[in-house]
Amino acid sequence: MARIQLENVKKSFGKVQALNGINIDVKDKEFFVLFGPAGAGKTTILNCIAGINLPEEGMVRFNGEVVNLVDPAHRNVAMVFENYALYPQMTVYDNMAAALRSNLYKTDEETIKEKVHAAARMMKMENLLERLPSQLSNGQKQRVAMGRALVRTPNVFLMDEPLAHLDAKLRNAMRTELKEMQANLGSTCIYVTHDFMEAMALGDRIAIINKGEIVQIGSGDEIYYMPCNEFVAQLMGDPQINILPGEIKESGKGYEFCFQANGQKLAVPMPEEKALFQNIRRAGLKETDMGLRPQNVKYSFTPKEGYFKTTVYSYESIGNKSVIMADCGDYQLRMIAPNGLKIQIDQEIYVSLEVDHSMFFDPQTKEYVSRYDEESIRAFAVEQEVR
């Protein structure tokens, strides 16, 4: 159980700069999620913490102590590898017991048996203990890899996409289990994933990583509602957020958001909100990218007041709901719809934007500027942090 800090950690492989000045501070007993696209450097961060890769610059601290020169064995970390890394010549039982049989973490066989069986029960694989890894499916191997970490009481659990290869049902069950277990064990856990649902569900805090740099750190809600730039906004959320390029214009007392769809110029009045308008004015924002989550786009199949006309580009089910993509010329608008609608491609659809849920980005830098309800969301995030 430990606090893990990385300070300005840099690591390169040949000419590729894998990590470019990573700073994170994982609190004791925290569930910390590293989230980012493939090749962002998530696994390299884990390897630096485990001591498998040595950073060229920067410090790795466990409980304040610099461990840069401590070898992996003596750091007392438990790691779940993405490709399982099971010992092929050993049975599942021996694989899980391996760490407890090493000279460093020596435990008597009685305790080992107890712990292995407890972990196996948790992973629902007690019937697999006598098998060899070659006789397991990928999902089963992954569970063994998890089990191998769970038998230990390490400084920190490092998990590299441990649920990626499980079937959906087991994954959901495991997700719940994992969160509960981590709370019970009271252990620090650093968890790598590229599944946004997993990140939101598990993480006390989430770090968004891209191209070897930390883009944003915050609680799930904070990152979801106040992404620090368009990249994060697009990463968090499924279906993806809509980004509408447009202009903010003064009209009479208030502002309106002007944009184009299929060549027609449209303007939506922006509901009054002091703080937001102040922020926009301070930023001197004229042109802007508006971000609007798909659930905040309303549609109708008959003409309606305040709705504008487009055509359906696609309609596809994503399980318990569906996504309609509406063609707006240069871009497409995603919106959530129920399943089982009779929709033809290219049929007319009328769309309205709930501007009072939108967020605004600088179109040049793609950085976050402000959004509606910013204050209450910020307050909510702080409240979560305290809890």
């Binding site: 498998i52 064995a73 750091r75 970390v77 010992y87 092929p88 090493s102 000279n103 191998r148």
Partner: protein
């Protein structure tokens, strides 16, 4: 009808295999038959003759045959042991670490097997004379590394490359030291390759003729060189020659049978794929 056709197919298949087996084994059978003939009958009979063990008595009891065998065992066994001790770490390094001109080095090692022995043996003879390695166990074991080392390194390297490096990381994180990882985690995984490569290296070393002929011959006489003694200047004792050859094949056969299980797995690569 169909059944009959099938059976005929099997019969033809087996017949062809039997013919090939006889073809392949005939020299060995012929050698064995000759070893049981007396010197006169070697030339006058083919399959019908009066078998005699006199050749065996002559070779095994009345000559230094046993000491030649022991020389061969020491040199070949020693060569393989040295190759394993040096070659396995070398193979690991070539498989795992990236260093300057790595592939060149690996190819250089392989290229030792390309050079005809007769080409290098004369300069080696001069060098060995100067160094005092001529006609010594050490000298022969050393020069045999040309035969056994490249084979061992290249086979074992392939096995190391098949083991994912994460397995080593996992073992490190589990608290094992590098030596423990090597012997507990890696050696069991390369064992099939190591054993089969070592056996092949042993057979090549055992059969080597040019090196011991020129670099030894007085004090130390491995079996390949010693066999020529039975070819006298005036007479050729084909019977005794056959005995010497037959018996010298025995150790390799025994080893091969002992490790048969590994041999089949070891020569079909990729046995460790996780």
């Amino acid at each position: 009808m169909n059944n009959g056709k099938k059976r005929l197919g099997y019969a033809v298949q087996n017949l062809l295999l039997i013919i090939y087996a006889v073809f392949a084994l005939f020299p060995l059978i012929w050698m064995f038959i000759i070893s049981l003939k007396s010197d006169t009958q070697v030339f006058t009979t083919t399959f019908v003759f009066t078998p005699t063990l006199s050749n065996y008595k002559e070779v095994l009891l009345r000559s230094d045959y046993v000491s030649y065998m022991i020389d061969s065992l020491i040199i070949s066994g020693g060569a393989v042991i040295v190759s394993v001790i040096v070659g396995v770490p070398a193979a690991y390094a070539l498989a795992r670490y990236n260093f300057h001109r790595k592939e060149d080095l690996a190819f250089q090692i392989l290229s030792f097997k390309f050079a005809p022995e007769i080409l290098v043996v004369l300069p080696l003879f001069m060098i060995y004379q100067k160094l005092g390695l001529y006609d010594s166990y050490l000298g022969l074991i050393w020069v045999y590394q040309l035969i056994s080392m490249p084979l061992l390194i290249w086979v074992v390297r392939g096995y190391f490359e098949d083991i994912s490096v994460e397995i080593e990381y996992a073992a490190q994180v589990d608290g094992y030291t590098w030596y423990q990882i090597f012997f507990k985690m890696l050696v069991p995984l390369i064992k099939p390759g190591l054993v089969s490569a070592a056996l092949l290296a042993f057979i090549f070393a055992w059969n080597s003729f040019t090196f011991p002929l020129i670099l030894a011959g007085r004090e130390i006489q491995p079996i390949t060189v010693a066999i020529t003694k039975y070819l006298g200047t005036d007479t050729a004792h084909y019977g005794q020659l056959a005995v010497a050859a037959t018996v010298s094949a025995v150790p390799a056969m025994i080893f091969a049978l002992c490790i048969q299980k590994h041999l089949v797995r070891g020569l079909s690569f990729g046995a460790v794929k996780g």
